[in-house]
């Protein structure tokens, strides 16, 4: 058992971006002309520094708590908070140029641009709260908070299509989270028998101890409800209906946030709640394996038929998050390790791909239909290279990072002798590779389809450094992690042990 230390650091990690969000919004109301992008970026850099500091403390063998034990940072929390801080910072760097150009085009007013950065900070704060809270109820509230921030970002353009995407997202996620809440309430009511002080029956670290003693039927019903709820948040089939619309109607940096981070909240919540029942009930493993296998296959089939780059990547995310659920659902060390590894890798790769699409849209005046694009590699060699790295990585080819985490998940599924699920996973991987490489070829290397396109081509050029920076960093990270996967091992091992520790004590204390 790791040593517990008390610190205000986790609380600052949550409060800082929320205060920043309020401050930025107030500046906007006051018509003060301050560079919001720089302000938001400054806050996020501080946030990233704090997350690194916190992670270093955790990885040296401590569990950090704040506000009593209401906030608890273990290996999994540290991994997720670092991931959130890093990705939001990179995405905000690219946002600067992209959103400024959108504003110049008249897509929205300068006031709304300030609101954009306020919402990104609010998003960051609610994400941090979600991954650091040790209270099941607060987990729910924080996830709902992130839904609020995300929905406002999705509907940011306030076009009919984006508003529809926004409220569709709200509707479906609220339904899903109500199912999850139902599961949580059942567990709370059952757990309170063994933990007479009610507050303990809400603590994630305490519930794991009594999980085996919760009546079987209640446990399985709760697991089914929570899985359905978190799968909705994550966008698994058949709960995915919000996902392609949200991704395609949101500003492209927001699409990167959606696929990179928001859908990972569902996986995080699953790893905190549902996985504690996996060792006790094999049915949980099979249930999640079936759900995940169906979802990854259907997701990639739908991705293959899309002409819209953003929708294609969105459906690909339906497929990829299913790998994560499959790994986490196994409840074994290798499965959880692989699932969390894929959380990291998919976050990096999908943000890379979406930001590359953002660069393409920036350069072409908003074109994102594959059939209208072609031959961009000559004009945008760096973006082409980065997108291709992302495609190969997501397709699971060595020496890229996606290969390592997918292969780990394959091994974990095989260990559980679910060979049908293993076969589906591998087959889906091949389809993913085909889908993305084909898209990359058509966008960047195939000759343009028509004369009109040919004349337009002469106007295209590579995007500014500020936009290229983020995608180059991510592409290099794909290669680095793929070649040296062990650099992530301390973080992943710590996170995996944190998940296992929740229920291991339950087994030890019958």
């Amino acid at each position: 058992m790791s040593e517990t230390v008390s610190s205000a650091l986790p609380l600052v990690l949550v409060v800082l971006p929320i205060v920043g969000a309020v401050f930025t919004a107030l500046l906007s109301l006051g018509k003060v002309r301050v560079p919001r992008h720089s302000l938001a970026l400054a806050i996020l850099v501080v946030e990233l520094a704090l997350a690194v500091r916190l992670a270093a403390t955790v990885w040296s063998g401590h569990r950090v708590v704040a506000v009593g034990e209401a906030i608890s940072v273990d290996g999994l929390s540290a991994l997720m908070s670092l991931l959130v801080a890093f990705m939001v910072t990179l995405i905000t760097i690219q946002s600067g140029r992209y959103m400024a150009k959108e504003q110049a085009k008249g897509a929205f007013s300068e006031g709304r641009l300030a609101l954009y950065y306020s919402l990104v900070l609010l998003f960051t704060g609610t994400m941090m709260w979600t991954v650091t809270t040790n209270n099941m109820l607060m987990l729910f509230v924080a996830m709902e908070g992130s839904t609020l921030a995300t929905a406002l970002l999705v509907a940011f353009y306030r076009s009919r299509a984006s508003l529809e995407a926004g409220y569709k997202y709200v509707l479906l996620v609220v339904v899903g989270m109500t199912f999850a809440l139902f599961g949580m309430v059942l567990i709370f009511a059952a757990a309170v028998q063994f933990r007479p002080e009610g507050i303990h029956a809400l603590r994630l670290t305490e519930i794991g101890m009594v999980a085996p003693r919760i009546p079987k039927n209640i446990a399985l019903i709760a697991v089914a409800f929570m899985t359905a709820g978190f799968a909705t948040k994550a966008g698994l089939v058949p709960f995915h209906a919000w996902l392609p619309d949200a991704h395609s109607e949101a500003p492209t940096p927001v699409s990167a946030l959606l696929s990179g981070l928001i859908i990972k909240l569902g996986a995080y919540a699953l790893s905190r709640t549902v996985t504690i029942f996996a060792p006790t009930y094999h049915a949980v493993i099979v249930f999640i394996a079936i759900l995940s296998s169906a979802s990854m296959l259907i997701g990639i089939f739908m991705a293959l038929v899309q002409d819209d780059l953003k929708r294609m990547l969105a459906f690909s995310s339906v497929s990829q998050i299913s790998y994560v659920f499959e790994g986490l659902g196994l409840g074994t060390y290798v499965g959880i390790y692989g699932g969390l590894f894929h959380v990291v890798n998919h976050t990096i790769v999908k943000a890379l791909l979406f930001m590359s699409v953002g660069a393409v849209m920036y350069a072409t005046g908003g074109v994102r239909r594959i059939s209208r694009l072609g031959g961009l590699a000559k004009k945008m060699p760096i973006t082409a290279f980065c997108f291709f790295v992302g495609a190969l990585s997501l397709g699971g080819l060595p020496p890229f990072n996606g290969f390592v985490s997918k292969f780990t998940i394959f091994l974990a599924i095989g260990e559980e002798r679910l060979y049908w699920a293993m076969a589906i996973s591998i087959f889906t991987g091949l389809l993913t590779l085909a889908c993305l490489v084909w898209a990359a070829y058509r966008v960047f290397w195939r000759k343009p389809q028509n004369v009109e396109g040919a004349s337009e081509q002469s106007e295209f050029r590579e995007v500014p450094f500020g936009m290229r920076f983020s995608i180059v960093v991510l592409a290099l990270l794909c290669i680095l992690i793929g070649v040296y996967p062990h650099i992530l091992h301390p973080a992943l091992d710590s996170a995996t042990r944190a998940v296992l520790a929740i229920w291991a004590r339950g087994v030890a204390t019958p």
Partner: protein
């Protein structure tokens, strides 16, 4: 005696739920949503009194603010600017009534005869808790039914509210004496209310291009 009051109120809330889902007039639906919320408020207050848990009064106050004032106000604004007749449900009226009847019978029979399947603790296997649970599960299912078979915004919001209220009634039935129950109730109530308001506002904005009340008045049909 305490159980009778709670069972009576729960029966009332179940009846108003069914009526609200089935009404074809959306303005009347909004009214029944309000009535439903008043009953929920009464139930929470009754639990607070009967189980001597004064913190539950805070929850009933929050419920009053969100479900009896804020959301109905916005729903009424929305409903009066649209045709009062509901879009034809995907299934016919008869099928819907039949399905709801089946839901009610299934859940009450399930809790009467096989409460051990769904009971997290001992108290849940005895009256009046198991009847309260049966009603709560039915309301939750009814909300899901409304969401799956209805398209109008008013009915959608009703469906969301019924699902949420179903969960809250389960929570109250199972752990009425804990202060954590109040905390769960208030926070989830507020979180859901914010998102429901966002949902309604987004719909209004999409149709009218504004959520400004003054401008909305100008658009009155």
């Amino acid at each position: 005696m305490e159980g009778n009051i709670l069972v009576t109120l729960s029966l009332g809330i179940l009846i108003t739920s069914v009526v609200a889902v089935e009404l074809r007039n959306l303005r009347s639906t909004t009214f029944f949503y309000l009535f439903h919320s008043v009953l929920l408020f009464s139930i929470i207050t009754a639990y607070a009194y009967l189980f001597k848990n004064p913190s539950l009064y805070l929850w009933s106050a929050t419920c009053f603010l969100t479900k009896i004032i804020v959301i109905p106000t916005l729903l009424f604004q929305f409903a009066k600017r649209f045709p009062s007749k509901e879009h034809r449900p995907m299934l016919g009226h008869g099928i819907s009534v039949l399905a709801i009847g089946v839901l009610v019978v299934v859940f009450f029979r399930l809790f009467q005869s096989h409460s051990y399947l769904l009971a997290p603790n001992e108290a849940a296997r005895t009256e009046p808790v198991r009847s309260l649970l049966a009603g709560a599960f039915t309301i939750f299912s009814l909300g899901l039914w409304a969401l799956l078979t209805r398209r109008d915004v008013v009915k959608t919001v009703l469906g969301l509210a019924l699902m949420e209220n179903g969960v809250h009634l389960v929570l109250l039935a199972l752990a009425p004496q804990l202060s954590e129950t109040t905390m769960i109730g208030i926070l989830t109530n507020v979180a859901a209310a914010v998102l429901i308001l966002l949902y309604i506002s987004s719909n209004i904005y999409q149709v009218f291009g504004t959520t400004d009340s003054a401008k909305l008045s100008e658009l009155k049909r």
